[in-house]
Symmetry: C2
Subunit: 345 residues, 2 copies
């Protein structure tokens, strides 16, 4: 029964192509969702190209999924047919390990990512993501999405949004603090909006004059140029938190001097880190990592965004445009996230 239509990656070198596949049968705990929008995450492109060496083909990318409930398993409570819901980067976990008990499912050793992974409960298939017409997901990994948000723009909250919300909350951003967001892209622009809504003074730190101007339009109180020595000198020791979103190899050292004593630079992008311990020892500073949040925190983030009317800035595409979108993504040509509009596709 080939009842799901989407676009899949078939190999590291090839473009994404149309793909029909059987969606998994509904279990008693499952929610079936007709997908309306799906964000295009940078990691989708890395997985399509097998940049991390763990892609299982063919697979449908997409883990920023917004849609409406079309069917419910017998035992599902709390969701209703037609309800607006979201699915993010994970679709299951073990529920019993230390990570799961702490609502930190991303760190569960058995976490099932939304696409290109094997689900222990359905070992004959790989998981298939959101560049498709439908998805079936365990109810515990389905999020409620407020109708008050702009449905067409909300999808990237499921990955980019929670990736920024989680460290800002974990490190307890609050009014009176100065928070630096390093890098303005899909993540960075969410960081500016979220940190601002949490009451912080928000400083964008970017190498680009143009992005500095954009950041102020997004709500940053100040934007400084990371390559400008006077800017960097003026902000030494001023930051309560830095969230570094730069997704490529870069020198992290210039940013450490910006931190106050005892404060932290959180890294959310993939980058080598090379420094000398003295850069941390003087001032008792810290470098920390952060991934997406757990399901409980993701729901909290969606509710926070509804309360503060925060959605990403997006550019809509049709499913057929995905390969062009990847080409533009590879050169950073997007403000700030592509979202596939399934109705256009």
């Amino acid at each position: 029964m080939a009842n799901t239509e989407g676009y899949a990656a078939f190999g590291a070198e090839s473009a994404l192509r149309p793909f029909s596949f059987d969606r998994r049968e509904m279990g008693p705990q499952d929610v079936q969702i007709r997908i309306e929008y799906c964000g295009v995450c940078h990691s989708d492109m890395h997985m399509a190209h097998n940049d991390w060496g763990r892609s299982v083909y063919p697979f449908v990318p997409g883990h920023e999924i917004i849609g409406r409930v079309t069917a419910l398993g017998d035992q599902v409570k709390g969701f209703s047919i037609g309800e607006l819901v979201g699915v993010g980067c994970m679709v299951d976990s073990c529920r019993t390990c230390d990570a799961c008990k702490q609502h930190l499912e991303p760190f569960c050793p058995q976490v099932v990512m939304t696409y290109s992974r094997t689900d222990p409960k359905y070992p004959d298939a790989v998981t298939q993501g959101g560049y498709s017409s439908h998805i079936v997901v365990d109810k515990d990994f389905v999020l409620h999405v407020s109708e008050t948000l702009d449905t067409a723009a909300v999808a990237p909250l499921l990955c980019a949004g929670i990736t920024m919300y989680s460290p800002l909350r974990h490190w307890q951003v609050s009014p009176g603090q100065t928070v630096g967001i390093i890098g303005l892209g899909g993540l960075g622009h969410m960081g500016v909006k979220l940190a601002k809504a949490m009451g912080a003074r928000v400083v964008m730190i970017t190498s680009s004059e143009k992005k500095a101007a954009d950041a102020k339009q997004l709500g940053a109180d100040v934007a400084i140029i990371s390559t400008n020595e006077a800017d960097m000198a003026a902000w030494q020791g001023q930051f309560d938190l830095l969230v570094n979103t730069i997704p490529v190899a870069h020198d992290v050292n210039p940013y450490l001097g910006l931190l106050k004593i005892d404060k932290t630079m959180v890294i959310v992008g993939g980058t080598p880190i090379e420094l000398h311990s003295m850069g941390l020892i003087f001032g008792r500073k810290r470098i920390a990592g952060s991934l997406i949040g757990g399901i409980k925190e993701t729901q909290e983030m969606l509710d926070f965004c509804a309360e503060h009317q925060i959605v990403p800035l997006v550019e809509h595409i049709a499913l057929e445009d995905i390969n062009t979108a990847y080409e533009r993504l590879a050169v950073g040509d997007v403000r700030y996230r592509f979202v596939i509009d399934m109705a256009k596709s």
Copy 2:
């Protein structure tokens, strides 16, 4: 008036030699101390050799000083003639900056280190340390030392002791936690004793079978060999805190896997740090730096050590033996700290 006798470094290449110098005049806030013992810190040797490029010659090293009060300035309260006191790595700071207000004098931009630095109040001289007969120090940088401690062994608490106590306290070590001390030397052996006294299960992580055995004698509950894959695999995700004391360049990556989710490896030694951000992102882990503590915390540490009867394991030398001691220190041949006994000298 050449009224102080000591041993000084005169240049990067030369051995330490006898040195007579005028100690500074007593101010109304000063305490004069006749030195009985002075610990030999690895950093003394680096400074003598100008390894960090900021030594001012001639200077008398030594910042783990134990002695008795021989004179008090007019306005000094809270100390008495003959009292056992200590002086550590600092002898003054500005008292007004953010760091000083937080009792974190080591991070004061104007902190005056105990030797080979200029004191803004006495700009014509460099500070002279504890390899000498006497020292004059502002009362706010003089510590009370309990007579119940072994006076002959207590000196290294002033640097090695506080360097380990500070991160263990800052990261809130408590009963029920598993704390790893990486490396067994002057710092590491204090870490084992202090973490044990705080109630933690203490694991020594060392590359040496001999040091593993020593660590157990010092009170470590377990000792594991860092180059033993089975040991390291068995302890993945088990640690609430790691304090890394390795004083030379080494690969920090194997230790990150030992941490539980959300936990920290504190680095107290000078080492390059090279890793990929993914080593921190998965598990939301942290690398932090830590230096000596402030004066308030140093007094707290001395009181804690008196309460728990903790002193370092030391080997006594005469002042004349200092060059031989440096040679042995350079090859790690000391268990675990040399202490100069001025009465022998």
